[in-house]
Each structure stands twice: as structure tokens, then as C-alpha cells.
């Protein structure tokens, strides 16, 4: 540079000019940016485009691979299972199957698939599609973490774990193009619920095979342009970490009912930013809301705030293999010495419900009795019985949580309560997510924060995890009667009431042993713009896009 120009200053002035130009450009940009009162919400109203804060970048859009909620939000727009849920009641309603019959022994389901069900490329959706998709979903090589959703089906587990390799033995049969027959091992009242879980959605065979083997992870078939689905929307755009956009599918059987033209999902990891985006009119719906903002919105803008109970429980998991924690009196004492309401009012601030049982109340009509009451005196007594009168000599105990401001506040609060009420010293220990997971799965903890979200609306999704060999048990606690109730008695039950009775009994056992300390029932908290209509709240936080539309009144 400097050398090439005959008059040395010129290149220098070049630099000056360049900079000044740049400055102009930038300032112009600024000016242009200012003054445009338009924002996503106002433009969205006209074009029926919904701007959705989706929490995170989807890992994948392959229903048989993904595990997360952000993925769920997108996939339910792109694909549809045999049945859907009624957004109000969450009871199953026809999806791909316009109707179904259940045999008297409640073990055989026959689904009648809509004649006008179409893939987005025009192909009809047939029972064969389902058989193949489910076969694929059970391929070990695919690494489908939700394979267990299929386990109620005859031999599904055996096939998934490789015990048998003949899929024909699995209880799925295509009677004819539009009739699918599914045979269950045991009566499974919540089976229909499962069918609306994305892990049981059908996928388009030709497309997948076009981009790789059926059991191959991460082929390009899920990319915009490649993706072929059977849902109300089709994948239009997928920019990594920036945007996923889906657009109304013309081939969808119910297309004329779908009023939204498009939905734009943003990976809003930073909740504060998300909230500001909402305020700046860049989002219609946010994935969540910082706890400290809730009070503000309650005051200033209540109609935008949507808080509803959620099918999940926040609890502390106790490692019963630790000497002093093996004593259930101590576990109960700890549980009873927490003032849940105060925590909710001062820490979580979401108006969550204090939890005195593990299964959230009114899970498809099931509510467990309170397993215990908050009673500091009783707690002290129990502790004394256990040999630690007034916390004397209580071994230093470690409370593990994954690094997160919310968990931290909660832990600190509870730590203080235990100190104040029982005079026991708890040390806090926070670890990064992955480290925390490692510690918990390897049982390398004493007390650890945990949460559980139901996969489907049925007590079972909460209670079967405490089976002796339950992969998510991790407390080292087990009880033979409990196992018997959950894995034999309850499935065998003829009527719901009887089944629920077994569950109540089991949960009573669980709460009495107290290997886990329920803290509160989760809430789902969203900011929803008044324009958004047809989006009722439900405990699954499930939104049915085909019913949503944007309108000012």
C-alpha cells in the first residue's frame, strides 16, 4: 500500500476518506433504523405470521432423534401423529386417524387413517408409513432416547434392546392401506396419549431413504427444502441459531381450518433479551419470563402474562445410600422443615403450587393425598429421634444443584431454612449442567436439586420412574410393594378409579419413605401478545397451531 502510490500522503488520505465514508454509512444506517415504527407484531398481524420465542436452537427436526421442548414446538407443526390432543381438555381427538376402536381387553387398538391425509409432497399417508416409521424409531443404531414410549406395544422393548430382531413379532400391523392395528402387552389407558408424542410421529420414508439409511443419524432430510411432513405446516427456512420458519401446508387435510400463514421460531436463549424483544414488539409469544419480571407484569400488563400449572414437579433428590440420609426420619424431617409458600412468594415468584406429593394435582383426574405436612416441631422431633437433637452432630451435608440463578436462590433459601428450623448445616455445591448430570447419574451426591416433566398426561409418567431399576430413580431407594403396585397392579386394573387407587397407595409409600422432597409444582410462564387468539392454557403447555390466529379484537 504505502509504497505503491507516488505521493505518500495520498494513501493516507485514502484511509481517512475510507473511514469518513464508513462513518457516513453507519450514521445513515442509524437514521434509517430510527423512526421506523413498524415491528414484527404489527407486520405479523397483517400477514398472519406468528413470532415465537422458542428458547433454544433445535438440535434436529427428526422426531425419532430429538428430545427437547424447542424441537417439540417446531415438530408438532410439521408432523402429526395418529391422534391429537384437545388443547382445552387434553383428551385425545382424531389426528391422522379419524377414528379408532379399542378391543374389550383394551390391548388391541385399530386405527382408521384418513383417506385425505397427505404428505406435503402429495403422497397419501398410509398405515405402512406408520409401520415403517415405528420400525425406524426402534432401530438401536438411531439412538432414539424416547424409544421407551413404544414399550407398551408387544415386543417393542425386546426389539429396541436387540433381544429379538424380527420386527414382525412387534405388535404393529398394517391391515390395509388405511387401517393400522396395534397390540399392547398390557392394557395401557394412556396409550392414546403417547401417540401424540413426537417420538411416535410418522416420517416420510422416500425422503429419508433419499438422504441416507433409515437408521442413520443426522442426514440432511430434515433441512428446509428436503423436509416432507404430514403436519399443518411445512419447513420453509432453517438458519442455524437464527430462525426456523414454517409455512402453512396446502396439502394438509385440515388446511382450510389453518389460519396462521407462517410461524417464525427464534432461538431465544437469553430470557432477559427475550422479554425485551417482546416489549419491543419483536415477539408474539415468549418461552418464559424472568422471575423478577412476573410481579412487574402482574402490575403493568397482566393480560400479556400467562401463568398456568405445568405437568412437572421441582424436587430434591436424596441419595439414600449416604449413611445418615438412609434414615427416613431425617429425610422426612428435612421435607417438613421447608416453608414452601414462602419460597414461592419470595424466590420463584411464579405463583407455583407448593407440592406435598410427587405427581402434580389433577393429572388427568388423579390427585394424591398430601404425603406430609410442614411442621417444624414434628421435624425437630423426628431429627431428635434419629439422634440429632437440635441438629447436634448432624453430619455436614452437601446440596448439589446445576449452575443457574434460580436454582441457586432456591438452594440458598432452603439452606437457610434448614439452618434456622433444624440447625443443620448444609453446604451448597453448584456444578455445570453436564458435570451435575454426571454426579447425579453416578450417585455422586447427597442431596440434589431435580425436576421432572411428564411425557404424557398420566400419573404413570411420574410414578414409574421410582421403580427399583428405574433409570431415573437415582436415589438408591426401592420398595417391593411399590414396584408391584406400579408395574403389575395398576396396569391390570380394569377401571380408572381402581387404577388410580393403586397409584395413590404407591405414592403414599413413596412419600412416606421420602427419597425425594417435593418442593413445588411447575408453572409454565409466558408472555403472550393480546393479538394471539385460540391459544388456551393447559398443563402440558401444548399449543395447537391449527387453532391459533392473530387478530386485534
Amino acid at each position: 500500500m504505502a509504497s505503491c502510490s507516488p505521493v505518500p500522503t495520498s494513501n493516507f488520505s485514502h484511509r481517512l476518506r475510507f473511514l469518513s465514508n464508513l462513518f457516513c454509512v453507519i450514521s445513515c444506517l442509524l437514521l434509517f433504523a430510527c423512526g421506523n415504527g413498524e415491528n414484527n407484531v404489527s407486520t405479523g398481524l397483517a400477514s398472519q405470521t406468528l413470532h415465537w420465542g422458542n428458547g433454544a436452537e433445535p438440535q434436529e427436526l427428526d422426531p425419532h432423534i430429538v428430545t427437547g421442548i424447542p424441537e417439540h414446538h417446531i415438530i408438532v407443526g410439521l408432523l402429526e401423529g395418529l391422534v391429537l390432543k384437545d388443547p382445552q381438555t387434553l383428551e385425545p381427538i382424531p389426528g391422522m386417524a379419524q377414528s379408532w376402536d379399542i378391543s374389550d381387553d383394551a390391548k388391541t387398538y385399530t386405527f382408521h387413517i384418513r383417506a385425505n391425509a397427505r404428505w406435503s409432497n402429495g403422497d397419501p399417508v398410509t398405515s405402512a408409513d406408520f409401520v415403517w416409521s415405528w420400525w425406524r424409531a426402534l432401530q438401536p443404531a438411531l439412538g432414539n432416547q424416547y424409544a421407551y414410549m413404544y414399550y407398551p406395544i408387544v415386543n417393542a422393548e425386546a426389539y429396541a434392546t436387540g433381544e429379538i430382531d424380527d420386527f414382525s413379532q412387534v405388535g404393529v400391523k398394517a391391515i390395509d392401506a388405511n387401517t393400522l392395528q396395534v397390540t399392547l402387552a398390557n392394557p395401557t389407558p394412556y396409550f392414546l396419549q403417547l401417540l401424540d408424542h413426537y417420538s411416535m410421529f410418522p416420517v416420510h420414508r422416500p425422503t429419508i431413504e433419499k438422504f441416507g439409511g433409515p437408521a442413520e443419524r443426522g442426514t440432511r432430510w430434515t433441512r428446509a427444502g428436503n423436509f416432507v411432513g404430514n403436519g399443518p405446516f411445512t419447513l420453509k427456512q432453517w438458519d442455524l441459531n437464527r430462525l426456523v420458519m414454517i409455512e402453512k401446508s396446502p396439502t394438509y387435510y385440515d388446511a382450510d381450518k389453518v389460519r396462521l400463514h407462517a410461524i417464525r421460531f427464534y432461538p431465544t436463549e437469553n430470557v432477559s433479551t427475550e422479554e425485551r424483544m417482546f416489549r419491543a414488539g419483536q415477539l408474539h409469544v415468549t418461552g418464559s419470563l424472568p422471575a423478577d419480571k412476573i410481579a412487574v407484569y402482574k402490575k403493568t400488563n397482566p393480560q400479556a402474562l400467562r401463568i398456568s400449572p405445568y405437568l412437572g414437579t421441582y424436587f430434591y433428590r436424596i441419595n439414600t445410600k449416604i449413611a445418615h440420609l438412609a434414615d427416613k426420619r431425617i429425610r422426612r424431617a428435612l421435607a417438613m422443615a421447608i416453608n414452601r409458600q414462602q419460597i414461592i412468594d419470595t424466590v420463584t415468584k411464579g405463583g407455583q403450587m407448593p407440592a406435598f406429593s410427587f405427581t402434580p394435582p389433577n393429572t388427568l383426574g388423579y390427585t394424591a393425598e398430601n404425603g406430609f405436612t410442614e411442621d417444624i416441631q414434628a421435624a425437630k422431633a423426628l431429627l431428635a429421634e434419629a439422634g440429632y437433637a437440635n441438629g447436634e452432630g448432624f453430619p455436614p451435608t452437601d446440596l448439589l444443584y446445576n449452575s443457574n440463578e434460580g436454582h441457586r436462590k432456591l438452594a440458598v433459601a432452603i439452606q437457610q431454612m434448614w439452618k434456622k428450623n433444624l440447625n443443620v448445616d448444609i453446604t451448597l455445591n453448584n456444578q455445570d449442567w453436564k458435570v451435575y448430570l454426571d454426579s447425579v447419574t453416578t450417585g455422586n451426591f447427597e442431596i440434589s436439586r431435580a425436576g421432572w416433566i411428564g411425557d404424557y398426561v398420566d400419573p404413570n409418567t411420574f410414578l414409574d420412574m421410582w421403580l427399583t431399576d428405574g433409570g431415573n430413580n437415582r436415589t438408591g431407594w426401592h420398595d417391593d410393594e411399590y414396584d408391584q403396585l406400579i408395574s403389575e397392579a395398576a396396569p391390570a386394573a380394569k377401571v380408572r378409579a381402581q387404577r388410580y387407587a393403586h397409584f395413590r397407595r404407591a405414592e403414599a409409600i413413596l412419600m412416606d419413605a421420602m427419597p425425594i422432597i417435593p418442593i413445588f409444582t411447575y408453572n409454565s410462564t409466558h408472555l403472550i401478545h393480546p393479538h394471539v387468539k385460540g391459544m388456551p392454557s393447559n398443563i402440558l403447555d401444548y399449543a395447537s397451531y391449527k387453532q391459533i390466529y392473530l387478530s386485534e379484537d
Binding site: Q145, T161, A280, N472
Partner: protein, 312 residues
């Protein structure tokens, strides 16, 4: 010159090798694997996954095969995002990061350099302290404070600029760029002040004055060139720093940039992604340092001749 560059590039190879090796084994030391999740992953599934990504093989083999792939320019598949290769993700993230860095650097240069020059003209006076302290605010307010502040003021309250996004809405790149620039502005201001003070005390400035040139001409024509040398030297490394340091801003403004990927990858134990980004950043840093040296040489006639090998 060519030889000089060649030598430097040659040196880069061992550097990169060190980076790769250290990172590779470091990430595998970390507790918690890429596939652990809140819901227990069934053992058979886990096995399938590890087989899929060759994590079942001995580490040394993994290392060697990784080097092999790298030599072919293949960073491997991302663990967290099964559908994506690391190359693809870098390709997706680098442009945003670079663009952001570029804007930030321009802001920093514009504001910083002018502040520094102005300050240097009247050292230890108000004309010195005011611009310098304002620039210094940049250092003193960490970007994770400045960013949200800007958002709130310009985005939510004044509604001038969008709060977040990248290339979706006009002007959505200004706030992040400003935020990222803030820190560097101060450094550039300090550097140019120092440089100008140095130069303005030189004899040849007196010569220029003795020619009866107006002061502004003395400063801009005779002073600036020498005075900016330290700044030029700083820009290269600084730009590399901007790229590898932009993750905070990217996280706050949710910009689809590399820095954000990196931090996520680190938390997710996305081994290949961590490796990929680290190697890339190392390369960038090396490259920009080299660039800085070359520019510095071209700016200084004497050095230029030295490197040309002609009389010095």
C-alpha cells in the same frame, strides 16, 4: 518479505498442533459426556451413539483419526446438533462474527483514534481528560452491562433500534457493534494518545511548524502517520480478539455467531465443535498477528526497505 511470511506460516504449524492436542485431551478430561441428559439415556442407546461417533475407541485412535480428518479439512460432525457438521456450523457462524467484529473495529477506530488525537494535542488539560475518560468508560463498563443498557435505552425506551436479531430488521447490527467496540475504543484512544504525544515531541514536527504550516496540517500530515503506528500494530491482534471475544455480545444480542456456538459447545461437551472453534480461532489470531506485522512494515519506509533487503 515472502520469505518472512513463509517462515511465520511455518511457525504456525507447531502452534496449531499444540492447540489441537491440548484442547483435544482437555475436553475429554471434562466430567459428563456429550450425550448425558436429565432423562436417563438407556444404555443401549448410549452405546449406539458412542459407536456412531467413535467414542468407543481408545482416545489415542480418536486423536489420530481426528488429526487425519483435520488434515483433510474435515472438522467432523457436531455432537449436539446431529444434523450438522462442524464445518457447516463454522460456515454459518463465522460471517456473522466477522461482520460484527468489522463494524466494531470501525467504530472503535473512528471514536478511539479521534479521541486519542484530540487528547494528545493538549496533554493533562480538560481537552485531554474529557475524551480520555469518556473513552475509558468503555473499559470500565463491561459489555454484558453495556449491551442490556443499550437494548433498554435505544430498543425498548426510545424504540430507535431493534433489541436483538441479526439482519432481520434494519439497524439491528448497530447496538451489538457499539457494545463490542466499547472496550477497544478505549485501548485505541490510549494508544493513539501515547503515539501522538511521542511523535509530536519529535524534531521533525518542529521542522513542520517552522515551515509555517497550520497546526491541523502539522498534526494530520506529519503527526498522524507516526502516531498511528502503535494503533496499527494493535489492530491485528485486536481484531482476532474481537472475533474470539465476541461471545458475550453474541449471547446478549442472540447473534448467530461463532463465539456463541463456542460457549454453548463448551457447556454441551460438543467435543468436535469445541475443537473446531478453538483451532479456527487460533488460526485467526496467528493470521491477524502476521497481518499486523506486515502492515506495520509497509507503513514504515525504513523497515520496508529492510525487508526488501535493499539498503538500510
Amino acid at each position: 518479505m515472502a520469505r518472512f511470511i513463509f517462515m511465520r506460516l511455518l511457525q504456525a504449524i507447531p502452534v496449531l498442533l499444540v492447540v489441537i492436542t491440548v484442547t483435544f485431551f482437555l475436553v475429554r478430561l471434562a466430567p459428563g459426556g456429550p450425550f448425558s441428559a436429565e432423562k436417563a439415556v438407556p444404555p443401549e442407546v448410549l452405546k449406539a451413539l458412542e459407536a456412531r461417533y467413535h467414542l468407543d475407541q481408545p482416545v489415542v485412535n480418536q486423536y489420530l483419526s481426528y488429526l487425519g480428518d483435520l488434515a483433510r479439512g474435515d472438522f467432523g460432525p457436531s455432537f449436539k446438533y446431529p444434523g450438522r457438521s462442524v464445518n457447516e456450523m463454522i460456515a454459518a457462524g463465522l460471517p456473522a462474527t466477522t461482520e460484527l467484529g468489522l463494524y466494531a473495529m470501525c467504530f472503535a477506530l473512528l471514536i478511539g483514534a479521534s479521541a486519542g488525537v484530540i487528547a494528545a494535542l493538549k496533554p493533562n488539560s480538560a481537552q485531554d481528560y474529557i475524551p480520555m475518560s469518556t473513552a475509558m468508560l468503555g473499559i470500565c463498563l463491561p459489555s454484558f452491562l453495556l449491551g442490556p443498557l443499550f437494548m433498554l435505552v435505544f430498543g425498548v425506551w426510545l424504540e430507535w433500534l431493534p433489541v436483538s436479531g441479526w439482519g432481520d430488521i434494519p439497524g439491528d447490527k448497530i447496538l451489538p457493534a457499539l457494545t463490542l467496540a466499547s472496550g477497544y475504543t478505549a485501548y485505541i484512544a490510549r494508544l493513539s494518545r501515547g503515539g501522538m504525544l511521542e511523535v509530536m515531541s519529535q524534531d521533525y514536527i518542529r521542522t513542520a511548524r517552522a515551515k509555517g504550516l497550520p497546526e491541523w496540517k502539522v498534526v494530520l500530515k506529519h503527526g498522524l502517520r507516526g502516531g498511528m503506528i502503535p494503533v496499527i500494530a494493535f489492530i491485528g491482534p485486536a481484531f482476532a480478539g474481537l472475533l474470539s471475544g465476541s461471545f458475550v455480545v453474541e449471547t446478549i444480542f442472540q447473534i448467530p455467531g461463532l463465539g456463541r456456538f463456542y460457549v454453548q459447545a463448551a457447556f454441551n461437551r460438543d467435543y468436535t465443535m469445541i475443537m473446531g472453534t478453538t483451532v479456527l480461532f487460533a488460526t485467526l489470531i496467528i493470521f491477524f498477528n502476521l497481518l499486523a506485522d506486515i502492515v506495520a512494515v509497509w507503513l514504515n519506509p525504513r523497515l520496508r526497505d529492510l525487508y526488501r533487503g535493499k539498503g538500510a
